[in-house]
């Protein structure tokens, strides 16, 4: 039993806003849900499953289901931080394959740019690790900086190599009129931007934006009745990675485990992948993830990302062609949803023309929720243009 070809992404929608002081968190959820359903050619009354993560206000998924007017036979509130939405697609596909539901709606919304909750992926003061991680002035950036420092120490990775990841994202973002940052930057500009937590500079960090997104996952039968190009889910893998009883290894992510599961289920190899959406909270997140997914040897990520490898349309492995979290959008400090959405655009041939990967047949989206220096939920999702 697998989910390969047993569920399709029929609708995908990204809120165009990046600063939304006049829309409630609930309204943003509502607008992206309606947008994704309209994209699929469906309506709220067709929905029989809802998936909401920690950004969904209220009691688990229930309050938003009430707000949206959803009746359902299946619901899920899996919370993994920013990668939760990739897990939701995996869970939705499994539920659809098991006959539990037919039309699953997954939504994300957040307003960190307007204010309110500070950026972060922490577990809160009741978490068992709280007193051992929260009393040291460890910020989201400093956590990832420690991972970057250790990777540099073990493998000789440089700030210039990390900067090449931001440069590629900025080259893509110049074609996205909704992107928060639309100016192309150079390696020097990244390195000369202020240090936030050494060795990470301001331009090594993702943007902070309001906004959101949603996707609709449907059964093959529903997909067959829709006119829209529905993107088949080929495979997915999930894994936790944590501090491992005080033996944390800062040089890798949970993608070392989620990746092989996804490739095996999808029945594709790394060479088959035409486009990747890689979670890019920080440049180091991308570098470690590409290594861990096996696109290059462990420790060789620095050389791999240099020389335009990640730049569409001609690079060997085009990534984050919407500009990613580094330049386009990181709604609610949770980048997983936009990773799925841009992968769907690429498979449909609907990315911005300047960055559309020719003949994009297989796309991989990967999420890293939580923190590289604590615990993360890693989820890899592989989709195809057709089955």
């Amino acid at each position: 039993m697998s989910i390969r070809g047993r569920a399709y992404i029929a609708g995908a929608y990204e809120h165009p806003g990046r600063h939304l002081p006049d829309q409630s968190l609930m309204e943003i959820h509502a607008r992206v849900c309606v947008g994704a359903l309209a994209d699929a050619g469906l309506t709220m009354t067709d929905v029989d499953a809802y998936f909401g993560a920690g950004d969904s206000p209220g009691l688990g998924p229930l309050s938003m289901m009430e707000y949206l007017g959803i009746g359902a036979t299946y619901m899920d509130s899996t919370e993994l931080g920013g990668s939760a939405y990739l897990a939701h697609v995996n869970h939705a596909a499994a539920a659809i394959a098991a006959g539990k539901c037919r039309v699953a709606l997954v939504s994300l919304a957040g307003k960190p740019r307007t204010g309110g909750r500070p950026p972060g992926g922490g577990g809160g003061s009741s978490a068992p690790e709280a007193d051992f991680e929260n009393l040291w002035g460890n910020t989201v950036v400093s956590a990832y900086a420690m991972a970057a420092r250790r990777h540099m120490h073990e493998y000789g990775t440089t700030s210039e190599q990390l900067a090449a990841i931001k440069v590629a994202a900025s080259v893509h973002a110049q074609h996205n009129p909704d992107a928060m940052l639309q100016d192309v930057v150079t390696v020097s500009e990244v390195i000369e931007s202020p240090l936030i937590a050494d060795p990470l500079h301001r331009l090594d960090c993702c943007v902070i934006t309001d906004g959101g997104g949603a996707v609709v996952v449907v059964s093959p039968e529903v997909a067959a009745d829709l006119e829209r190009h529905c993107v088949p889910v080929l495979g997915a893998g999930e894994a936790p990675k944590h501090t491992n009883n005080g033996r944390i290894d800062l040089t890798h992510t949970g993608a070392v485990w989620s990746g092989p599961l996804a490739f095996a289920e999808a029945g594709v190899s790394r060479n088959d992948v035409d486009y990747v959406s890689i979670y890019d909270s920080f440049t180091i997140t991308v570098l470690q993830t590409l290594e861990d997914l096996g696109f290059c040897e462990k420790g060789k990520g620095g050389g791999f990302v240099s020389d335009g490898m990640l730049q569409a349309p001609d690079g060997g492995l085009p990534f984050n062609t919407d500009g990613g979290g580094l330049c386009n959008n990181h709604p609610g400090n949770r980048g997983g949803m936009t990773k799925i959405i841009e992968a769907v655009r690429q498979l449909r041939g609907e990315a911005n023309p300047a960055v559309q990967v020719p003949d994009c047949e297989v796309a991989l989206a990967h999420g890293t929720g939580g923190s590289l220096a604590g615990r993360m939920g890693s989820v890899t999702l592989i989709m195809g243009r057709e089955i």
Partner: protein, 138 residues
């Protein structure tokens, strides 16, 4: 600590049933660890069972307080009260007993910190009867 280096925020922990022995020891100037009676695993952070073998038979003991820097960062922009004390150092210290623990490296020029540098524990009083374990270059 030089006179012009502001003290780091030293906020009280919130001990629970699992962690209170650790914080009680820290208040007395000891870095305590749990050890599994059944499989010899040293445990970090405190918990009720051994994550290696599921045994509930754990024993507290005093660690040496010595270790080395596993990784670190010099923080230049932060949040809340921490923004007033930049630059400061957040680190993972690998204790001689094995566990890698998150902490601060204090009482030194941040530029003097490096990976593998030997460090030794110091305790900073929170003012409410508790103390935080931080580390200095040994």
């Amino acid at each position: 600590m030089s006179d012009d280096t502001p003290a780091l925020p030293t906020n009280a922990p919130h001990p629970n049933e699992d962690s209170k022995p650790f914080w009680d020891a820290a208040a007395e100037g000891r870095f305590a660890l749990q050890h599994c009676d059944d499989c010899d695993t040293v445990i970090w952070w405190p918990r009720a069972l051994c994550p290696a073998c599921s045994s509930f038979d754990l024993t507290w003991y005093d660690a040496s307080g010595n270790g080395r820097v596993y990784s670190y960062t010099v923080v230049h922009r932060s949040v809340g009260g921490w923004n007033a004390v930049t630059p400061y150092v957040v680190a993972y210290v690998e204790l001689d007993e094995g566990p890698r623990v998150m902490t601060n490296i204090v009482d030194c020029d941040p530029d003097a910190v490096s990976i593998d540098a030997p460090v030794r524990v110091v305790f900073h009083d929170t003012g409410e009867g508790w103390a935080l374990p931080r580390f200095t270059l040994a």
